[in-house]
Symmetry: C3
Subunit: 206 residues, 3 copies
């Protein structure tokens, strides 16, 4: 289980890092801006969670593979961005997988650090959306997860599922898999069908 | 005393959350963006203080009422923003009350965590303005407390009063109330009279 | 050694604070905005490092000189910004010196807190560029170190030199000085010759 989790974790970080790097390439930022955005997007959500729950230094700073993956993803995006742009829909699948994974692992880690279930579910969502929020703030735009993309809600629901399963006394994959699969599936359907979250009443003509 | 403090704390957080949610409604962000901005504005200042002084996980993550209040405030603002927009001056009163409270409680908490008086006063100000700064950064605008609103200065003075009272050996309400009342009153007068902080010499024609 | 380090540290913080204050003056922000940007730019990189490596409260919150220096720098910039604007190239020298110092001291402090060498080098870079990134985010612009200035790369190389020297068993100045001098020199040459980091292939016509 553990090896599978690390591999999935790194795949999710790579997808997040690619999304950050592609935003940077399109500004365009320079090569170091691309690498910084790749790193901040790939690792930022976990950093934010770890700093808030008091799990410092963050796990990613204690394992070189977590630093290498966004670095390589950033270089690849810098060099091959036209080709990557053509497979952006495929990258979105890995990004959704990363989101599904991070919302449940973030929630479970927060429970392990003593947070109550509602706070742990919230931290699961923060883990999943934090990197994208940091990416957009650094790139000078309002975070897309707050205005266009149905992203935070699937992450929150996935985290709630994981917290509920944990509270119900389940273990291991029974805690992680249902929430991760649900969040991933919801996100993919929302992407394919163009679902968006409701705008405030009276403001949807903008 | 303690119950009164918690109630005031929650009222201040609700006012901050409403201000964040109204900014989000007017962008407009979607319902999740409104909720995230409500939460980040209501709780962000305290989170920032707790992370900096090493008081993690932040208190608000250990008490579900602190999560429920911004959530409800965000939903109310999402649904009833036209009505809320008409009572925005009244919301500003509660916002000023929250600011007055947070600057003194933030300063005292920082003293309790071993900070020296000048740093504790600064952390009191950070507690009071942090949520608004995060709100504006997420909404893609330069923080209003840095350019338009006389807000940071009353918060800093209130925090200095609280730190000074604590250093003088006073206790409980004698530490908290003068600074809170002063910061609140100063802020309200500044709001009503349209006081603004001075611009750099030669730049006020902008 | 220690006194020299503190003096250099404060000189670097002053230069960073001046750069933050000048950005604020030119928006223009008001006097409190100028002071907040001076403080955030001068101390933000160290705060970010200390929060990430778990060294809270940050050292600067435990020594009033570290709070006084950006405060005074902010006031000076507010009042005398036209004169400061004329010596901006000279300020850039001190800024480069601060960058050179912070990348090595940040890396060494991170090693002391148990980080592995690659993560420590990264944290050295974060220490050196963090204040400028926070400055630009608060001022509503995409961080210049990500798109225009050759700044992050010298900082990273300087941090790598320091980490390598430490790993090689060297001590004191032998760890700090080569990396600091290298980063400073590289930065100064880049500034004088207008070197910029490469843009993504195909995007350099923007």
């Amino acid at each position: 289980m553990s090896t599978a989790l690390v591999v999935l974790d790194l795949v999710g970080i790579a997808a997040f890092a690619l999304s950050g790097a592609l935003v940077a390439v399109r500004k365009p930022l320079d090569v170091f801006g691309v690498l910084v955005l790749a790193g901040a997007t790939g690792l930022g959500g976990g950093f934010l969670r770890d700093v808030l729950i008091g799990a410092t230094p963050p796990a990613a700073l204690q394992d070189w593979r977590y630093l290498l993956v966004p670095f390589v993803a950033g270089l690849v995006a810098f060099r091959f961005h036209p080709a990557l742009g053509r497979v952006e829909r495929e990258i979105a699948v890995f990004d959704a997988a990363g989101m599904g994974l991070f919302c449940v692992t973030g929630a479970v880690k927060s429970l392990e650090y003593g947070l109550e279930p509602p706070a742990a579910a919230l931290m699961g969502m923060v883990t999943a959306i934090g990197g994208g929020v940091i990416r957009d703030v650094l790139a000078g735009r309002v975070p897309v997860v707050l205005r266009e993309e149905l992203y935070a809600f699937p992450a929150l629901l996935g985290a709630i599922l994981a917290v509920t399963a944990d509270e119900a006394g389940l273990h291991g994959g029974w805690v992680l898999i249902p929430g991760a699969v649900f969040a991933f599936t919801y996100r993919m359907v929302a992407l394919r069908r163009g679902w968006q979250a409701p705008l405030p009443p009276g403001m949807d003509g903008y």
